[in-house]
């Protein structure tokens, strides 16, 4: 075997070992490195009451309500499998709308309500011009289907 082949084999073995080690590390980190809980995870293995955590999911359509005090809002965050009721007092981010993604920072109360101290809006991977918004939903869907290729990247 020529010297350069020896070096190539050595480097490939080293790289494979390195990638294997990182994959194991990432596998071990898979829960800790997540930025937030989704409602399903919160239902299956809830964090301790009062522990600071983040909850991420979709704001369910029709669930957003302003409470009697005028500054507290309540809404339901779901992921299609489980839901968590959330309360928040404060200014809502611009992108916060029903049917859109949200990340709430706060803590789980004993009654299962999530008290949020801070809300972050999460947007999806779809980029669509604003003009399409003024059309009816059906028209907009058609234009989106025509202008994007291959549909949603999921």
């Amino acid at each position: 075997m020529k010297a350069k082949h020896q070096r190539l084999v050595l480097i490939v073995i080293a790289l494979v070992a390195l990638i294997g080690a990182s994959l194991l590390a990432i596998y071990a980190l898979r829960n800790q490195a997540s930025y937030f809980y989704v409602p399903k995870q919160m239902a299956e293995s809830p964090p301790e009451v009062g522990q600071a955590v983040r909850l991420g999911g979709m704001v369910q359509e029709g669930s957003l309500e302003t409470l009697a005090d005028g500054v507290t809002v309540s809404f339901i965050v779901g992921d299609g499998e489980a839901t968590v009721p959330v309360r928040f007092s404060g200014i809502l981010p611009d992108l916060f709308v029903e049917g859109s993604g949200v990340v709430a920072e706060g803590r789980l109360e004993a009654d299962g309500t999530f008290m949020a101290d801070n809300l972050l809006a999460k947007h999806d991977e779809n980029y669509v011009p604003r003009e399409l918004q003024d059309m009816t939903e059906h028209q907009a869907e058609q234009v989106v289907a025509e202008t994007t290729t291959g549909g949603k990247a999921e």
Binding site: Y35, D94, L95, N118, L120, Y127, V128, P129, R130
Partner: protein
């Protein structure tokens, strides 16, 4: 490929290719930025802030591409002892670091209106910051080696090891729940309207040309340094003999 190993032949090609890449890259970036600022439509939910897309995404791709280039050049240097590969790796580090920093800055500016936060310790954001630190480490290491003397294999090994971070950045939004949305563009698929997609791809071509031009310019500068040093050494030896 070994034809380009000859530094003389490389220099004759690089001499005219460098300005060509720099000028065409800057022209395309200027055109797509103009389009992005004044002609691109506002996005349905994000509104006007979407215009930063045409800088943020190309710099992110090239920040990752720069380290991939370092890793490939390092492999070629370690295995085939290609004389220009080490130089190419060193020359890619500074533009790679600058593009990564630009991606982080534009991402932070975009995050404030879109998500409501300048910075979060999220998988995608953190792994991109780690990439910037890897670049800074690589630059200091390769400079120390070239100044203090030492094997150029040490930065090459660092360049190869650091490439582990690139797939982590890419998959961070898929493996872990992240505030950053999953990729809009993947092989043959796009969740982006044409008004955003095509100018974005063109802007990426422009930034790539600029990146290539900077790398060639830096390789020429590094070669000139080596030549000047060799000439000084010969002179010093000649003076000692006389």
């Amino acid at each position: 490929m070994h034809g380009f190993a000859n530094p003389k032949r490389f220099l004759t090609i690089a001499r005219w290719l460098t300005p060509l890449l720099l000028v065409s890259g800057l022209a395309i970036i200027a055109a797509t930025s103009w389009y992005g600022l004044f002609h691109a439509p506002a996005e349905r939910l994000q509104g006007e802030s979407v215009r930063i897309l045409f800088i943020h995404v190309p710099t992110a791709w090239l920040g990752m591409g720069g380290w991939s280039a370092i890793a490939i050049a390092s492999l070629v240097e370690l295995v085939w002892r290609h004389p220009l590969a080490g130089l190419a790796a060193r020359a890619s580090a500074v533009p790679g670091a600058i593009f990564t920093a630009l991606c982080l800055v534009t991402g932070s500016l975009w995050g404030r209106p879109a998500w409501g936060t300048w910075w979060e310790w999220d998988g995608r954001l953190t792994s991109m910051l780690v990439l910037l630190f890897l670049y800074l480490g690589y630059i200091s290491l390769s400079q120390a080696v070239s100044r203090e003397g030492g094997s150029s294999r040490i930065p090459a090994i660092f360049g190869l090891v650091g490439v582990v971070n690139i797939p982590i950045i890419h998959y961070s939004v898929l493996w872990w729940n992240s505030i950053h949305q999953p990729p809009s563009i993947s092989m043959g698929k796009s969740a982006m309207s044409g008004e955003f997609l095509w100018p974005l791809l063109l802007a990426t071509v422009g930034f790539s040309l600029l990146f290539g031009g900077i790398v060639l310019a830096r390789m020429r500068a590094l070669l000139a340094d080596i030549q000047a040093e060799a000439r000084l050494r010969r002179k010093a030896l000649g003076a000692a003999d006389a």
